[in-house]
């Protein structure tokens, strides 16, 4: 557990004036959990993070890790016990990917061979092709560099990870992949993570708890993502959390067991007669293992069901997904019936928005 106790950081801004970057911050980042620090630019997120590994020293207050005051620890030892990942990765351009990843274990005196073996393992684990190990950072894409940055931070298996906007310099598609893989890794590794971002969606997606900071480095709210969306403490947090928060909060509500409508399905290549025999206007087309491929409009089938006849606008909700996914599946479906698949991805039935909404209302009634 990382614990901030009344931590303040003032910067000298010359000619006797000071500016407060972090103001009496008290906060606990629980062991094995992701704590996200989020807030507008300049609100002191980076300063807060860097005070943990003493790249910046607090003006007052204490930061302790598992009860040990960091100020009393040897600084090199403290830092080697924490992975640090930053925007643009900060890889060593003159070292290969493999040598970048082995940096901290080598500093800790691990012999070259075992450091390399472990590095190769990590390189694969963060989703990189092992062939990339011999390359230099300049030969990698931004997303690949970021993965190497994560592997390097994990190399000495530190219990704590400090991450400063690690995914903000890559395009949205890659960012989402990195986020998903990050969550998968964390579910295996259970590190104590302090994660900085200015993107509230990222905060809500990744955090076990989210700390919203306002300008001047004051903690505005510390809460789980669901609470943050449903119950922001003031106008600043509400404004920062943004629009659509009622809808987005549904991401955290597990879908209950609902009675699904059965649907007639047709395989790819089914004849026009087969399709018409179902009697429906829109028919679900399923693949070989029963996975939903898309809706097909019966009237559009002249000979047989081909891929280019499939309507792909609809999203698929999972039986173990969220209420948001269920509602979205219904709203995005051309037939008005949302497609639901089981945990193995096989089509099980459909649901209408009008059936999801009462469940949402019942939840609200129960929580007030």
């Amino acid at each position: 557990m990382i614990r901030f106790d009344g931590v303040t950081k003032q910067y000298d801004t010359g000619s006797g004036t000071t500016s407060v970057a972090v103001d009496h911050l008290s906060l606990e980042a629980p062991t094995g959990k992701i704590t996200v620090l989020v807030g507008p630019s300049g609100c002191g997120k980076t300063t807060t993070l860097r005070m943990v590994n003493r790249m910046i020293s607090p003006s007052s207050g204490t930061i302790s890790i598992d009860g040990r005051d960091t100020a009393s620890m040897d600084v090199a030892e403290l830092r080697r016990g924490m992975g640090y990942v930053i925007q643009h990765a900060g890889l060593f351009p003159h070292r290969t990917v493999l040598d970048n990843v082995t940096t901290v274990p080598r500093l800790l005196g691990v012999d070259k061979r075992s450091a390399r073996a472990r590095a190769m393992e990590l390189i694969e684990r963060v989703g990189l092709d092992p062939d990339l190990a011999r390359r230099y950072p300049a030969q990698l894409s931004g997303g690949q560099q970021q993965r190497v940055g994560v592997a390097r931070a994990l190399a000495a298996d530190p219990p704590v990870m400090l991450m400063d906007e690690p995914f903000s310099a890559v395009d949205p598609v890659v960012r989402e992949q990195l986020q998903n893989e990050f969550l998968r890794l964390q579910s295996e590794l259970s590190k104590t993570i302090l994660f900085v971002t200015h993107d509230i969606d990222e905060a809500v997606k990744l955090g076990d708890q989210v700390a919203v900071l306002r300008i001047g480095g004051v903690l505005a709210q510390l809460a789980t993502p669901a609470t943050l969306l449903s119950d922001p403490v003031d106008d600043f947090v509400a404004g920062f959390v943004g629009r659509d928060r009622g809808y987005r909060a549904l991401s955290f509500a597990a879908a209950p067991e609902l009675r699904l409508e059965p649907e007639p399905t047709v395989p790819l290549g089914a004849s026009a007669e087969q399709v018409r025999a179902t009697g429906a206007t829109w028919v679900i087309c399923v693949g070989e293992s029963g996975e939903p491929l898309g809706w097909v409009r019966a009237a559009a089938v002249t000979e047989s069901v081909t891929r280019d006849l499939l309507h792909r606008g609809g999203t698929v909700a999972s039986t173990d997904g969220s209420l948001r996914a269920l509602l979205d599946a219904a709203l995005s479906s051309p037939s008005g019936r949302g497609v639901v698949a089981d945990t193995e991805g096989r089509f099980v039935g459909t649901i209408r928005a009008s059936e999801v909404v009462p469940v949402i209302e019942a939840r609200q009634a129960a929580s007030t």
Binding site: M55, V75, R79, M82, F92, H94, R95, Y136, A138
Partner: protein, 212 residues
């Protein structure tokens, strides 16, 4: 041409002497400029003072330095050590700024990452700042090498044997061939230095040759 072939032995001997007088100071100067350049980056006032001082050193006329050094160091006027020391001073004058620039050119994100991984100041310079400064330092070394080869030739005026002898001697005897031989030999020597520095830098910086 025949003159050059007849005097090949002498040319080679003087070329080797010239190479020593210009090359050894290059190495010594680099060894001194490295810590100085590092120091210059520590504090703004050190930076200013150090770079101004070393810059001024370069403006001392070489002949004056060759003549003054024996009285300062207590060496004999004909001692090649004077030339070595004078050339080292010039090398330091040229390289300190280059080293300071090279060491500070590291991407801030890379430097922060190094600090956060627990590199101490010395380890960081050795494993991160210095290797990344190699291309810049090598460029500075090439300039210093050419400059050294040309300044060393002046030392023939105080009677120290090297390629410059052909210039003064040829001039005194109004024998242009000999002057030309001296010039060509100097250029060739500078070229050899340049290639050696380029080659070493090439070997030390494989990462600069990959597609960026």
């Amino acid at each position: 041409m025949t003159w050059a072939l007849d005097h090949l032995d002498e040319i080679l001997t003087r070329a080797v002497q010239h190479a020593w007088l210009a090359g050894l100071p290059l190495v010594l100067g680099l060894l001194i400029a490295l810590p100085l350049g590092w120091l210059a980056n520590r504090k703004a006032w050190i930076h200013g003072t150090l770079l101004t001082t070393t810059g001024l050193l370069y403006t001392i006329p070489s002949l004056a330095l060759f003549i003054l050094l024996p009285s300062i160091l207590g060496t004999k006027i004909l001692d090649p050590v004077n030339v070595i020391i004078a050339m080292t001073v010039y090398t330091v004058a040229l390289l300190t700024r280059t080293v300071a620039d090279g060491l500070s050119a590291v991407d801030p994100a890379t430097r922060q990452a190094a600090v956060a991984m627990g590199f101490g100041p010395v380890a960081r310079v050795r494993s991160v700042d210095l290797p990344l400064a190699i291309p810049v330092v090598a460029a500075g070394l090439r300039v210093a090498a050419v400059s050294n080869v040309s300044i060393v030739s002046v030392a023939s005026l105080i009677g120290i044997s090297q390629l410059g002898y052909f210039l003064t001697d040829g001039y005194a005897r109004t024998f242009p061939t000999e002057v030309w031989v001296g010039i060509v030999a100097c250029v060739l020597l500078a070229l050899v230095f340049d290639l050696v520095i380029l080659g070493i830098a090439w070997l030390l910086t494989p990462w600069t040759r990959v597609r960026a």
